[in-house]
């Protein structure tokens, strides 16, 4: 709807900003998104300095303090082997965050490459790649990951590979559609008219202009992969004991639900907060990048 408010011209007098600065400015105004970003930074710091922050080692057992509720010594209680739940969660943040970033990274690079290829060349290449992606997408993601872990054997590395592969078609689709819509712009034709090569067009025009939606999806996807991965660990198909992966902690806590509620409760809250942080930031980015929401 072309109301006149949206066609009002930005005068030259007002401060000039690039799109990136403009996005950042709008993102900064969004309190939720900034909350998410701060949380992510906080979690990253916790993960990096886990050894310094955690009161105990992740596998430090104290048989005199088994299944103790939250107390001054053990803020979030202890588990069935007398290990400090808080310390295990702090050490676990490393695993969960790496899983999130690495799996999303795998999906983004491989899926991005395939999607960009499909979009740029179209025709048969496009058809071949996208039909293959359709096949993978026809198997519910979590179940496909279970199949892959079964084949590879349960371990942290295999978990990341499985969830990463699982993420490929997702990114292939997003990047394909993003590049396709960028390709529709006349500036791509304009670049061709002035004699630009394919590579110039891809790197100077298509990729920079397709990045925004990809960035949003990648942020949101990190949260998703953390949930998927912890779900697999919960089923015993991911990280193996004694690794303090959050899903594995929850799984262990399940057996003691009736006697030690804290064992399952706190790792779940950790997962939720982490995923929430990525979702908040992703949502905020999407809003900041959507010019229609600017009013």
């Amino acid at each position: 709807m072309a109301t006149e408010a949206t066609t009002v011209k930005v005068s030259a007098k007002r401060k000039q900003r690039t799109k990136l600065q403009e996005t950042w400015r709008r993102l900064r105004k969004n309190r939720w998104a900034m909350g998410g970003l701060s949380l992510i930074i906080f979690l990253a710091l916790v993960a990096i300095f886990a050894n310094q922050i955690a009161p105990y080692g992740y596998n430090e057992q104290d048989y005199l303090r088994i299944l103790q509720g939250p107390s001054r010594e053990n803020l979030l209680g202890t588990d069935n082997l007398g290990r400090d739940v808080l310390s295990r969660i702090i050490h676990g943040s490393r695993l969960s965050l790496s899983i999130g970033f690495i799996t999303t990274g795998i999906g983004l690079t491989v899926g991005g490459f395939l999607g960009a290829l499909a979009a740029f060349y179209g025709g048969r290449v496009d058809n071949l790649i996208m039909r293959f992606m359709d096949v993978i997408l026809a198997i519910p993601g979590f179940i496909f990951a279970i199949a892959l872990v079964t084949a590879l054997g349960p371990s942290l590395t295999n978990l990341m590979i499985a969830v990463g592969i699982n993420t490929i078609p997702y990114f292939a689709r997003i990047i394909r559609s993003s590049v396709m819509s960028t390709k529709e712009n006349e500036f791509v034709e304009a670049a061709r008219v002035i004699g630009s090569s394919d590579l110039w067009i891809i790197f100077k025009h298509l990729i920079p202009n397709s990045l925004a939606p990809i960035l949003v999806q990648a942020t949101l996807r990190i949260g998703d992969t953390i949930i998927i991965a912890s779900g697999l660990s919960f089923l015993g198909l991911g990280a193996q004991p004694p690794l303090p992966e959050w899903g594995a902690l929850l799984s262990a806590g399940r057996g003691y639900l009736r006697v030690a509620w804290w064992m399952a409760t706190f790792p779940g809250i950790a997962i939720m907060i982490t995923v929430l942080a990525f979702n908040l930031l992703g949502d905020g980015l999407r809003d900041a990048l959507d010019p229609r929401l600017k009013n």
Partner: protein, 314 residues
Amino acid sequence: MLKYIAKRLISMVPVLVGVTFIVFAIMHFTPGDPATLLLGEEAPPAEVERMRERMGLNDPFIVQYGNFLMGLFRLDLGISLTSGRPVYNEIMNRLPATIRLSAAAILVAIFIGVIAGIIASTRQYTVFDGGAMFIALLGVSMPNFWLGLMMILLFSVFWNNTFGYVLFPSSGFGTLRHLVMPAIVLGTAHAAFITRITRSSMLEVLRQDYIRTARSKGLNERVVIYIHALRNALMPVVTMAGLRFGVLLGGSVVTEQIFAIPGMGRLLVESVRSQNYTLVQGIILTYAIIFSLVNLAVDLLYAAIDPRIKVQYK
């Protein structure tokens, strides 16, 4: 319309064949020998070798895949390596529970999600909107296995300790009371997702020119929203909810595990643990087929909502 259904069904075939190939290949190259598994570790090597021959395990991969594919047409998915019973029968025993659970969850999700989404979008920037959106965000950020454990903790353990009886049983399947917690646990993330997508879709539609036309006719706001806007807004909701159904199916595996529901998901986890490959293979295929059928249903629903779709398939 029939032609459209036929076309869509036919287009499912190559995808499903691709799925069988991928699943078969993954399982084929998985370490471990089905014959040994079937006969047990102590079986004499000669016996195992005879079994391998009988199961066609010595054939080249492509022949084995061909045989597997042919078997599918007779609904023969092989035999379970632990029980020795046909995989098909094993799955059919467990399928109803999974379908019941998923259907209950999706109904809960759509009901809550669409209503909350409409409320949020028509009261943009109010407390309703903010509140609904924050709850929805929590919903999608919450791992459902954790939510499940928390509900058990609350409604089975604490409730029992406080009031002396169990409000919702934490395990088993059969009655509606058994279904309540699992359906909520499985449906929550989906409801949250649908809320978000309904809201953004409604906001998009409410910006459209035809909404302005409707208002300029003097229609009251309720008619504009529930008649003119909602039907258009539902299209992306239906599509996305269909695509996300795969996530719900994945979630059902964990949910069945937590609430000890005798569904396919639990069978899958058991089979993975016991390296029962034929059963794993059959179950994954079944999930893929359910998912594809749901997406077909979604497409048909879409065509029913949007008159423009039918034209494309005339």
